[in-house]
Structure formats: C-alpha cells, structure tokens
Amino acid sequence: MSGLKIVVLAKQVPDTRNVGKDAMKADGTVNRAVLEAIFNPEDLNALEQALELKDRVPGTTVTVLTMGPGRAAEIIREGLYRGADNGFLLTDRAFAGSDTLATSYAISKAIEKIGAFDVIIAGRQAIDGDTAQVGPQVAEKLNLPQVTYAEEILNVKGNEITIKRRLERGIEIVKAKMPLVITVTSSAPDCRPRNAKHTMKFKHAKTVSEMQDATEDYLQLYNSRPYLQIPELSVIDVQADLVQLGLTGSPTKVKNIENVVLQAKESMTIGNNDQEIEAMMVELIKNHTIG
C-alpha cells in the first residue's frame, strides 16, 4: 500500500488551564498577554495519531495546518520538530472574529487548496473554547464522514480504517472508509517529544513574513533549502468567499461578557429565615451557580 496523505489541524491557544490572578483586566476582558500561547493539548494527541500512522504505513506524509496570526507559525515548527513533514499557516486579517462556522469554512477551503489527502486528524476540542465543533463542521463542508472522540486507530487496510472511540460510559469500535475526518480525545496517547534530528533540520523553518526580517545569510539558506519555508495561505490563496469569513460569516455573536470575579473566601452567615435564604438563592441563580 502506498503512503497516506494526512492533514493535522492544530491550533495555538492561550493556556487557560493555569490562569493566574492577572489573567483578567480591570475592564473584564481577558489579558492575553500574560497567558502563555501553547499547542492545543488534544491537537497534540491528534498529531501523535498521525505520526503513528506514518510509522505504520511507509511513504505517509503528515502536514500540519494551523489558522491564526503570524506567531502561530510556532505550531507548525513544533509539529515539524516532532515528525511532521510540512505545514501551512492559514493567516489573514479577514479571519479575525470568526466563530466556529466561519473558521471551519476557512479551514475547509485551505484543505481543498492543499490538495488530495486521505485522513484529516484534529483534536476533539480546543481549550480556549471547548466547543468541539470545528472538526465536524469541516467534515460537513468537505462532504466527508467523521469519527469523533477517537482514542486509537486500530487498523488501516486498503482504504478501510478501524477506530476505537471513547464515549462517556464506554467504547465503540467503528469501521470507516478513507477519506474521512477524525477528532481525537485527550485519553489517546500523549504526543512523542521533539526528535533531535528533526529539530536540527527545521530549526530555521520560517514563514515568508518571518523571513522578511531575516538577514542576508538566512535568505541564502532558504534558497538552498526550500523545505525551511513555511507557506502562508491568505483568503485569496484559498479562494474563500469573504462574506463567509470573520464577523460577517459568523452567525453567532457575543452579546455580553461577564467577568467571573474571583473573590477571597469569606464566610457569610445566613439567618434561618425565609428572607435571607431566598436572598442567597437569588444570588446563586444570578451568578449562574445554579440554573
């Protein structure tokens, strides 16, 4: 069997798992500057599944696709260090403000542009939104079947793929045909670490925008080693319809954002009477502790 063409969808996210006191600004907005930008954890699980397939099926190539601002090139480099073959950065101002539907439209256009593939693998969800929507939405846009909540790819034979899914109260083993979209859960094996050889090879990999700031010597290096160029894809490159992108392409709008005030714990004594107990319950309903 000839090798597979795999696209891994990965996202750079603010690390919301370790949010300190300074994470919120006084005006109630998120202070992104103090949050570390990381490789979305479940996308690393997805990358590992792709790399395992590459180990199993000779001739397989793994492409990392990420959408984000220029600094998201970091995600592509991280993927290359761990064993991916190449990557694309989907970046354009027109993508700003996209909700999951507009994002999935942009990503599906980019995948069409990148070309033939057998498997698209993504993390089940990203920790900054926890929506788990982009994977299935991309699958629908590309008119492909999907297998979500994947924990392990058990077998690949011809164009058939067998996958174990991890559900709330058990497992399901499904058989599907490629091409398809797979989303991987955090219960899947962790991603392998950086490989020293790959890290050396791709240390200087840069996007065109990043190269513009590079010195003469580097330019020579890039000309002699074209694999160090990380291609950037814009709206025009992927021939996307502007109306379906950004805020205009997003059916969901944020009406209001409330900062959850993290108060120091202070015990409040409630009197044993209807009025005080009712006031407490109203407070709990108001701050969404109870529905």
């Binding site: 603010p14 919301t16 949010v19 994470a23 919120m24 998120v30 999951t100 539907l101 999935s104 920790i127 900054d128 926890d130 929506t131 788990a132 929507q133 982009v134 299935p136 939405q137 991309v138 629908e140 079947p145 999907q146 979500t148 709330e168 109260r169 058990g170 497992i171 399901e172 083993i173 499904v174 058989k175 599907a176 045909k177 398809l180 059916p251 969901t252 709008k253 944020v254 009406k255 954002i257 409330e258 900062n259 959850v260 714990k265 015990s267 409040m268 004594t269 409630i270 044993n272 209807d274 107990i277 407490m280 319950m281 109203v282 709990l284 309903i285 969404h288 502790t289 109870i290 529905g291």
Partner: protein, 339 residues
C-alpha cells in the same frame, strides 16, 4: 412553523436524562415564545417512546424508526435532522452536550449554516439591539456559557440565522414532567427517501456501553449529608433538593456508617473527591478527612445546627439550623425565583 425543537437521545429504549431536561427547559421557552415544542426521536423499536416524551409538554413528536438506526451514526442521523429542519424551519434547536449531541450538532449547523453554541449553562429569551444597524431583534435565544477556562461568562446570540442551536450538558437543567396526560401529535418520518447507502459508510463493529451509574464526580452540584442529618428519612430531603437543583447526593463517612446513604456516595479521603460548582454540606461537621474530598468546590454552603462547626470555616455561606427546616425553605426559594 418556526417552533422549538429538541433532539432526544435514546439508549436501550430509554430517553436520556439530558434530553428530558432540555424538553423541560424547551417547554417553558416555547410557552414564553408562544410556539410549539417539538421533539425528534431517532432509533429502532421506538413503540413506547412517545409515552416517555409527550408528558414533558411536547406538541409534536417526530419519530424515525428503522433497524439501521439502532445506534447513533453521524451521517444518517444528520441527514434525517437536516431534512426535517429544512422542512420545518425551527427557530430554536436544542441538543445534549454529549458525545452524540456534540457530534451531530456541529454537523447540522455546518450544513444549515446556522450558529451553534456549545455547553450552555443557561438559556433565556431576550431582545437585542444592534445599534450599528439600528435594528432591534425580538425574542432571541440568549445562550449563556462559561468561556476561557471558566473565567468569563459569555452571552451568545444568533441574530440572523435559524435555527438558533445550543447544546447543554447533563444535569445543568432540571427535569420535570409537564403533564402526564399531555396530548401531543406523532409524526412518523419515512426515512427511505432520505437515507442513502453512502450514509452508512461508517459502521459500528463493537460496542461496550456501561449501564448508567450515579455520577457524583461529574455533577456540577452536590448535596451532601452527614451524621447531623439524623435519619434515612431526613436524607430524602437531600434527594429532593438535589433533584430540584439538578445535582447529585453525596454523604460523609459517618452518614454512610449510620446507613443513611450507600457507600458509593461517600465523599472524602476514603471515598471519592468532588469539585462541583456548588457543594451543599448538610449536617456535616467537616472533619479534615471529609474536607479532603470536597474543599476544592467552587462554592460551599453549610447547613449545621452548630454555628462553630469546622466546615463553616471553609463555607461561603453558613446557615445555622436543622436540615429539616432549611432545605424546604431553599427549595421554595429556588422554585419561586428560577426561570
């Protein structure tokens, strides 16, 4: 037309709790909007499914019953829902934030180019003024959810696209039969013209799903009782409160030792550890062994006859009094003020 739809999840002929909770919420939202509540049930051998669903105040129940639909599969289920929504044009569609709802919801929203908000913790009806466009939208669905690791609460709306779609996790909303004798209409969906062989390209070859167990650790609200509850009889009040708030019941070791509650509900060093949004400690003194299993709760209410009970030191709200007095007051206050 333009009614509110709830997708009902079915496992072994039983409608999932999360779906019944959404029907309960859907009923009250539909009444507020003056529209009908409709439900969708997809599966196999659904002969008695209507008896489970209609009493929640469902006006129209759409049933797709076919051998091939016995277990959830993305493509055929999505094809049926897409077909139904294209014909019926719902204004709102709700699903459970489960592995099924989170697989189906985005697929449908992508096909219909409609907005979907995941894991809502509250749903309300309200207006929206778009100042730029000088336009007022009436009776939109406010989809309220925590975001950014729970550090912000966002209210999301879909002003222009329909249906307005949202998923909600199990246990977040309360479940309440509307009227056992409610009269709803049943519409059977003919799946033959909708489904194609290509929809069955993914097939299930093995399936191991455990029977439903109590899930205290996954519950956002835990009502726990200790020795101070006094009797198994009094413990029933805790179940009542947990049911009303959409929570689970836990117990301290002392209460389990007394036989007030089963061992599987024991919280603490020798039991399970919980981190709910709200922990209501009833008649629990708060020994260190118990606190080890619950002190990371986001909010703690203590109900105790002893104003100096150690638990009060870590409680956000401390109420001095007996469980049999306080809990009925809390239930009454909640029912009066919840929407």
């Amino acid at each position: 037309m333009n009614n509110l739809f709830v997708f009902c999840e079915i496992e072994d002929g039983q409608v999932a709790d999360v779906s019944l909770e959404l029907l309960t919420k859907g009923r009250s939202l539909a009444t507020q909007l003056g529209c009908k509540l409709e439900a969708i049930a997809i599966g196999y051998k659904l002969n008695d499914i209507a008896q489970q669903i209609i009493p929640y105040g469902v006006d129209v129940l759409h049933i797709a019953d076919d051998k091939r639909l016995v277990h959830y599969l993305t493509l055929p289920y999505a094809a049926i829902v897409n077909d139904l929504f294209a014909k019926e044009k719902p204004q709102i569609a709700l699903m459970g934030a489960t592995s099924v709802g989170r697989d189906l919801g985005p697929r449908v929203s992508s096909a219909l180019k409609s907005g979907l908000t995941a894991d809502c913790t509250s749903l309300m009806i309200g207006n929206h003024e778009d100042k730029k466009a000088n336009k007022v939208y009436e009776n939109l669905l406010y989809q309220i959810r925590p975001a950014f690791g729970g550090n912000i609460i966002a209210t999301i709306i879909n002003p222009d696209c329909r249906p307005q779609m949202a998923t909600v996790r199990e246990g977040v909303m309360k479940k309440e039969v509307f009227n056992v004798a409610y009269k709803g209409e049943i519409k059977n969906i003919d799946v033959k013209p909708i489904l194609t062989d290509a929809d069955f390209v993914v097939s299930i070859i093995e399936r191991h799903i455990e029977k439903r167990k109590i899930n205290i650790q996954g519950s956002p609200i835990v009502v726990a009782g200790g020795y101070g509850v006094g009797s198994k009889e009094n413990f029933k009040l805790l179940y009542e409160l947990a049911d009303v708030l959409g929570g689970e019941v836990g117990a301290s070791r002392a209460a389990v030792d007394e036989g007030y509650a089963d061992h599987e509900r024991q919280i603490g060093q020798t039991g399970i550890t919980v981190r709910p949004k709200l922990y209501i400690a009833c008649g629990i003194s708060g020994q260190i062994q118990h606190r080890a299993g619950m002190d990371e709760s986001a909010m703690i209410i203590s109900i105790n006859t002893d104003p100096h009970a150690p638990i009060n030191a870590i409680a956000d709200y401390a109420i001095t009094g007996s469980v049999s007095e306080i809990i009925p007051k809390m239930i009454k206050a909640y029912k009066k003020n919840s929407k």
